[in-house]
């Protein structure tokens, strides 16, 4: 199987021929099913200023949308169809959507930042609206009536008197629009047509089933891992056994009995074996004897000493603090002063499916089949890495395992490309579980010091957030000089990325407030499995764990109910922003408390004596324009130390919701991911190597932990009556922020013990209870 390019598709379908040639339906179908004819290339950029780049309408009155995003299991592809079908005025079930393949879809950057609807949804809506405008013009010309005398529904245009009708398919099916759009960049792409009002959109707010699910359930889905091309070889990496080790020699004879061995490839400290069959590559990688020289100094401290190390190491950079009032003065004169330290370890993406990619160098071009969410970046990065023109490279995005940021899918893509380029044959790279867990990028560890002060009436008068993030040399997306293979080959960026420490996001009105952050480096910056990359939000969970735990501590000191305490803090400020986040924060906290059945009282709860202690905790945050308030109920087993998050309530406001059911599931998954990070996840290492390398050494939340109940409340209340068209903001990552603190706050409520170091493992719980 192989995918034809859009150009080939247009050629075979007749669309390359200006204006009138009829489309061959088989050509379209062949394209949509990624048919048998490989595209010869080259693969120029898709022109975002051509309407034909975005929308194809077929004679049978069906439409296919081409968008430059990818769907990692949130159902965005279905949501794109909903909004584009609405603007185009075509029946939803007559539409399909092609995503993220660099030669056939415009470069909308792939996925990231939960911005699919917030940012990229708008050009999609505008081009669909423009197509509708053009089609209505065509119908008006055909009927000799003004456009105002036409109505359109489900792709059928009718004259107001009902006498004449024509379908979109009849108007344009198989022909090109040949309409040029405007816009300085892809995000601002537009035609002349205005957008519809939200009230006029039929599919928005409904929950059609996700179109990718049936194939994933019935076994017909072809994933990126399933791609096979003739002559394909299988590759496995051989990583240094000690981090920072240097390759001294390779003993070729150690694998001479491995059948099907095609090549041992090594460059610098990068080593891979390539074989005819997969099991042969697995065996060769295991059997290959390499001699490595251990590094002169330790690449990192042991993870158990991490926070001591982070707090005592000189920062490599200091961020710009955000300051209001005078925190030091307020602290000095306060009735009550609190200080606490919070520690969040490195946590990995730890994808369920280890990283993989297939690269095919046929026809002197390079096609990479990958699930990386940023296919466009991979195309550019690989071209740069290999020193070939980017027109020769295309990345075909295909379904894959979960990816919430900068994952190792990128590293595997570059490795497959490099090996295919070296060998001149298609190569499939597959990482092992140990590589995925050990060597994927990590969300940075945080060591945060919080200080706060109350006045004599229990009002918060000062709050100080000071974070140290182990984020030096943060790896970007698909960078030719920071992907793992480049690092192992000895390439070094002239200026390592400085990284950053994130600040909390809340609308608390506190007169004296400071948020400051600095970055500390690990001893070894390159060729290390402790490579920092964006992981879901990316650092909001860490920063919010500290800030929202500490707000809880202040509430305890003020003997206040934690929900009321937060509401009062928000209500103390009267200024709101253009997105009304202050008002929406209040609405979310209230909605969550109401759904939970929250009875106001200070924490902790009166202590029981039984084996199971029950408690509840709240936390809240926003990200960009999206707000989430979360309340959990936990059971803490005093004997075993096990924490069970029994109930979750999340009130969420992301503006206009396109597909409520798909959103609910996305939020449920994000909430439980964060529970997993709160209770289980830590990338552990000794001074020489990673210790978290499989599902035993790197535990994750399982079915055994499923809450009894999860309630998602989609608040979506816009308090501005003058704005009926509530914008669609991003959703997904926001819910990951508050959960870590909500769980720790609930554990405090249950036990009276404040836990400030994640994850809240049974061992740590038992130690804390004993202390």
């Amino acid at each position: 199987m192989s995918a034809p390019s859009r150009r080939a598709f247009l050629k075979t379908s007749g669309l390359m021929v200006a204006s009138v040639a009829a489309v061959s339906v088989t050509g379209v179908e062949a394209f949509l099913q990624r048919g048998a004819t490989p595209a010869a290339g080259p693969y120029p950029d898709v022109d975002h200023l051509q309407l034909d780049s975005w929308i194809v309408i077929r004679p049978d009155n069906t439409a296919t949308f081409f968008v430059g995003k990818t769907d990692l299991g949130q159902g965005t592809g279905t949501a794109f169809r909903q909004i584009m079908a609405d603007e185009l005025d075509i029946a939803f079930d007559k539409t399909t959507c092609v995503m993220g393949s660099t030669d056939v879809t415009v470069d909308q950057g792939g996925s990231g930042g939960s911005d699919a609807l917030q940012t990229d949804g708008y050009p999609m809506r505008r081009v669909a609206a423009e197509a509708r405008r053009v089609l209505l013009d065509m119908a008006a010309a055909q009927f000799g009536v003004p456009v105002t005398a036409l109505t359109v529904s489900d792709g059928i245009v009718t004259t107001s008197d009902g006498a004449r009708r024509v379908t979109y398919g009849e108007l344009i099916g198989g022909k090109k629009f040949n309409v040029t759009l405007t816009g300085r960049n892809i995000d601002s792409t537009t035609g002349r047509a205005p957008l519809k009002s939200v009230q006029a959109m039929k599919n928005v707010g409904k929950s059609p089933q996700r179109d990718d699910i049936p194939a994933k359930v019935n076994g017909t889905q072809r994933w990126a891992v399933d791609m096979k091309v003739p002559g394909m070889l299988h590759a496995r990496n051989v990583r240094p056994p000690l981090v920072g080790a240097t390759l001294k020699s390779i003993d070729d004879t150690s694998v001479k009995d491995v059948p099907g061995l095609v090549k041992i490839v090594s460059r610098g400290n990068y080593v891979a074996v390539v074989c005819e069959r997969e099991e042969q590559a697995i065996r060769a990688a295991r059997q290959l004897r390499c001699e490595w020289t251990p590094p002169a100094s330790r690449p990192f401290p042991a993870s158990d000493d991490l926070f001591t190390y982070m707090r005592s190491t000189s920062p490599s950079s200091v961020g710009e603090p955000v300051v209001e009032g005078d925190v030091s003065a307020a602290l000095a004169g306060a009735a009550t002063v609190l200080e606490a330290r919070y520690d969040v370890p490195f946590q990995g993406h730890t994808s369920f499916g280890p990283a993989h990619a297939l690269a095919d160098p046929s026809n002197g071009q390079l096609t990479i089949y990958s699930n990386d969410m940023k296919s466009y970046g991979m195309r550019t990065g690989v071209a740069q890495f290999l020193g070939i023109p980017k027109e020769k490279v295309r990345v075909v995005w295909m379904q894959g395992p979960q990816a919430y940021g900068r994952t190792a899918a990128e590293d595997a893509g570059f490795e497959a490309a490099f090996l295919a380029h070296e060998l001149g044959r298609p190569v499939r790279m597959q990482w092992t579980r140990q590589e995925e867990s050990g060597w994927d990028t990590k969300g940075p560890a945080y060591a945060v010091t919080m200080r706060g002060a109350l006045d004599g009436r229990g009002q918060v008068i000062a709050l100080d957030f000071d974070a140290r993030a182990a984020d030096f040399n943060h790896v970007g997306y698909n960078e030719a000089d920071t992907v793992l293979i480049a690092q192992l080959m000895g390439q070094r960026k002239a200026q390592p990325a400085r990284g950053r420490a994130s600040y909390p996001s809340d609308k608390y009105g506190i007169p004296n407030r400071r948020m400051a952050g600095s970055v500390v480096p690990m001893p070894l910056a390159w060729e290390t499995p402790v490579r920092m990359g964006n992981l879901r939000d990316p650092d909001g969970p860490q920063a919010t764990f500290a800030s929202e735990s500490f707000i809880d501590e202040l509430a305890v000191a003020a003997k206040a109910d934690p929900v009321a305490f937060r509401l009062a803090l928000i209500e103390r400020s009267t200024a709101d922003d253009s997105g009304f986040k202050r008002a929406r924060s209040i609405a979310c906290l209230k909605a969550a408390a109401e759904k939970f059945g929250w009875d106001p009282r200070p924490a902790p709860k009166a202590r029981g004596t039984g084996e199971i202690a029950v408690g509840r905790g709240v936390a809240y945050a926003f990200r960009s324009q999206t707000v989430a308030a979360e309340i959990v109920e936990v059971e803490v087993n005093r004997r075993t130390g096990r924490i069970w998050v029994k109930r979750i309530v999340c009130a969420h406001d992301c503006g206009l919701v396109i597909n409520p059911e798909a959103l609910t599931r996305t939020l449920e998954g994000g909430l439980l991911h964060s529970v997993s990070r709160a209770l289980y996840e830590e990338a552990r290492f000794d001074g020489t190597k990673m210790l978290s390398v499989d599902w035993v050494s790197s535990p994750t939340l399982t079915h055994a932990d499923v809450p009894e109940r999860i309630d998602i409340i989609q608040v979506n209340g816009d308090p501005n009556p003058a704005r009926p068209d509530l914008p669609h903001y991003g959703a997904g990552e926001t819910v990951c922020k508050p959960m870590l603190a909500a769980v720790a706050n609930a554990v405090f409520d249950a036990t009276g013990v404040r836990m400030r170091r994640l994850p809240l493992t049974t061992t740590r719980v038992l130690e804390s209870l004993r202390a």
Binding site: G73, N218, R277, F352, P401, E668, A704, V706
Partner: protein, 151 residues
């Protein structure tokens, strides 16, 4: 070596120690069973053999002969989705979906043995099958839905 997969006989020429998973994927071109760990820890590679959910990544192909092997592709009968599959669609369970082969086959075996499991039994029976999109809550609901559907 001869394998009986989803009612069809296949002859393959591979090293006897090759894990069944790679033969199913690479020689028989099946995409239901997937590689997730190769260590028997995650469930991605699950197939059904003799009514048990078996992890094909740690089972040599030589020990998989002369038994009926069912993969996700073989779960439907006469084009009719299995109750578990239908429940998975009705509940809109999958996020990325990569783990769902293991989830559905494990659930099928669970329900074959215990047609009406409690929440606690579902948690216990499914706990070795991991999901990193954390679709567990919906899976739990879908297992119950499938149980009702079969009743």
């Amino acid at each position: 070596m001869t394998l009986l997969v989803n009612g069809q006989r296949h002859t393959v020429d591979v090293e006897p120690t090759t894990p069944l998973l790679y033969v199913l994927r690479n020689d028989l071109d099946l995409s239901g069973p997937r590689f997730g760990c190769g260590l028997g820890q995650c469930g991605a590679c699950t197939v059904i053999i003799r009514g048990e959910a078996v992890r094909s990544c740690v089972r040599p192909v030589s020990q998989s002969q002369n038994v009926e092997i069912t993969t996700l592709e073989g779960l439907a009968t006469n084009g009719q989705l299995h109750a578990v599959q239908q429940a998975w669609i009705d509940e809109q369970v999958p996020a990325c979906g990569f783990c769902q082969n293991g989830q559905m086959l494990t659930a099928k075996v669970l329900l074959d043995k215990n047609p009406n499991p409690t929440d606690a039994q579902i948690r216990e029976g499914m706990k070795g099958t991991l999901c990193r999109c954390f679709s567990y809550y919906r899976i739990n609901a879908a297992v119950k839905r499938a149980a009702q559907r079969r009743a």
